[in-house]
Symmetry: D2
Subunit: 241 residues, 4 copies
């Protein structure tokens, strides 16, 4: 990693973003059922760099991350952003953490299954703080009465819903995941059983969007539903009004 | 692929984007030296969908693409966007094409080498047309006098520059690539030979940004330079003022 | 790329494989319907290196490839392997070419669709020549009468069949692909309609294996069928007896 | 996931491999310095299936894995393989676990850095047990006196060494990693400082191979060293005699 150069750069160009991307970093995140869970993240950390600085102290980014020993929650997020802004003498600091999140669910009476969700936390500190959560929820087709008897899994992967959310107050990742899964399942059942219709990305996107729009804790959202096809995939996106 | 449903959706939610992503599609693009080159693209095609429509005609996207038999240039781009807007009764249409672009270069007197650049064209048609070109140019370290005799390649991959550009007039992809390569090489030589300094993403980003800012044909740009490290990568971004 | 070092290496260790991997290389391959098609390959080229040689002439690999201007067929494969063996003074030479292969098919009366198949050709020249073809064929679920009316694509991606074959005589890639697709479709229909049973990787693998075992032009094969699931995927492999 | 079908399959074809691939699974592995570390694995679990069985109990694979709550070490490996063989009535069982392994190292007096190594454990139980460990160790170029002053990381990624090993007795993953890193560093210094020569994949592969060949605890090995280039990569492989 490169370190500071204190001289000026004569080109007088502001750098909007300068920072590091870690390849892989073990972290612990909060978990509603088990208090915390261990996972592995990739982290992007960056600040702005006014033209009066020639370069930035690249090694300080990872130093700051190391001070938290991989404990990442909403509190440490805010402190990391503050430290980045201060120690790197920047006006704006950004931290992005992407990680798989695991959630155990009852599949049926005797067996439990481990769901696996891609999550991304994107925090910024400028004059104000901003925190955006992205969750990717897999979508599979359920067994419905009108189809021949089939055991779970034989349909393959239908697609996934990618949801971006800004919250007004604390909200568990698992509550957001369960909410999305419930809405998707309800819409699929509605389409297949009531309407005898095709399952479309448009209908699923609108259903999830309508639900998120009614939750007071959510100040902004966008929803994209993807359907994997062989030849081409389809998708639809709805954003909060 | 799903097709139209002409009924209304009672939720009255506008869909910002609805469309298809092709897995892989052979195309031909214009080539300055050889008139055209064959490559393989992935294409995203999407439109907006007002709430009065329940769904869109997904199959029409690929039908429109097929009508052009993979001939993609600035003219066909504009026609495809227009056809998408019309046939899908949308207010805005988008076409994104990502493909590797090959460029033969003299390595030395007797041998030629084939450079390989990731390119992305993103066109939109709303009330006005917009076209954005993204090019990713690999960066390797040159052999300089102060190092022991080394043959090219032995340093490994240093990083790459990702450049996004909007043009005022036609500009060849290869001219943009060569321009970026020249600026990067000049800055590396300057840093190593003149300044005996470290090669930094900050300096390279500013150099490429300063150069693009002086080209009249370019109306907007952003430049990000990445350096691959073992433990973490570094990057810096400059945007046109 | 590094070049030859003619001195000896004192450790007296034979190197089994030494060579290059190209990132990306445009090639043309033979095509039954259109005579030839343009695609993009990644190529691995390697030879053995007896302990009396310190290193190999890395640049000669790509030089040999360049002499063929990307025209890859069974004849050029044999010539490339021979040139590698001769010019690099090796006892064994290997060439692996991986590329997407495109195949146009009638979807219904008015529309045609472009299938996309991952292919790999692996040729070796030791005392004898050996050529292995790998083809990956996507599997999707058909619309059957017992399910509610659904348009193609709405099931998502079920999985794929990966088939490795050694031939006794020339065989078109498209004929192998169509054969696999027919067997897969027939078995799925058999399972769903006749047996009202689940579609299993075991049944599909055996069906494709049984078919390949009866083709005189095939001297050896292996078949693996994968089913993508949300939580975990399943697979089964059969090899020619 | 599909479950057993107890009927016979009339095609009388043995299935060599049938099983599951998990997308992602949190595990704990043994760690020399910290007793254990948390990481995330992908697991492949499979058995053979004689032709008298129509299918296998896919759900039992993950059930067995779940019984160990992700605690993976050499002892649990052997027990999992035994349970797979017994419960699935197979003659051979296989378990492959791939995961990133983290190793903290002193970079200099005041700062520590977290190395990140791709590892793969492949265990089989037929009549005998077999266990193979694969480790991928990144290679970067050190700062040597003959080059201008440079800070670590500015060279980019040179390549990596992939080592496969069978052991006669227990051996820590970290001891294997450190051994490989020492040999690579020593050879690079030898080549640059003593021989003023280019760093070649051939020399590095032979050096690591020579070292592994002298360790009594190792019964078999293979070493491949890769150098990433822009246009093409080079590699060399040595196998134990």
């Amino acid at each position: 990693m490169k370190d500071i150069q204190s001289q000026r750069d004569s080109r007088r160009i502001n750098i909007q973003k300068v920072g590091v991307k870690t390849v892989s970093y073990p972290i612990t995140v909060r978990d509603k059922a088990r208090r915390e869970q261990h996972t592995i993240a990739t982290a992007n950390m960056y600040v702005n760099l006014p033209h009066r600085f020639k370069g930035t102290h690249m090694s300080r980014f990872v130093e700051i991350l190391n001070e938290f020993h991989g404990k990442i929650d909403i509190n440490s997020f805010a402190v990391i952003l503050k430290k980045m802004k201060d120690r790197l003498e920047a006006e704006a600091s950004h931290l992005e953490i992407e990680f798989p999140y695991f959630l155990e669910k009852a599949k049926n009476a005797d067996s439990r299954t481990l769901g696996h969700y891609r999550c991304l936390l994107h925090g910024s500190l400028n004059r104000e703080e901003d925190l955006l959560l992205t969750v990717e929820v897999p979508i599979s087709l359920p067994v419905v009465e009108t189809t021949p008897r089939r055991l779970p899994g034989s349909f393959g992967r239908w697609g996934h819903a990618e949801v971006n959310v800004r919250f007004r107050q604390f909200f568990w990742i698992e509550d957001l995941i369960l909410l999305i899964e419930q809405e998707v399942e309800a819409e699929i059942n509605h389409l297949l059983v009531k309407e005898h219709s095709v399952i479309s990305v448009e209908a699923l996107t609108r259903r999830v969007g309508a639900c998120l729009g009614e939750i007071a804790a959510i100040s902004w959202f966008s929803v994209t539903v993807h359907n994997f096809g062989d030849e081409c995939a389809t998708f639809a996106t709805v954003t909060s009004p």
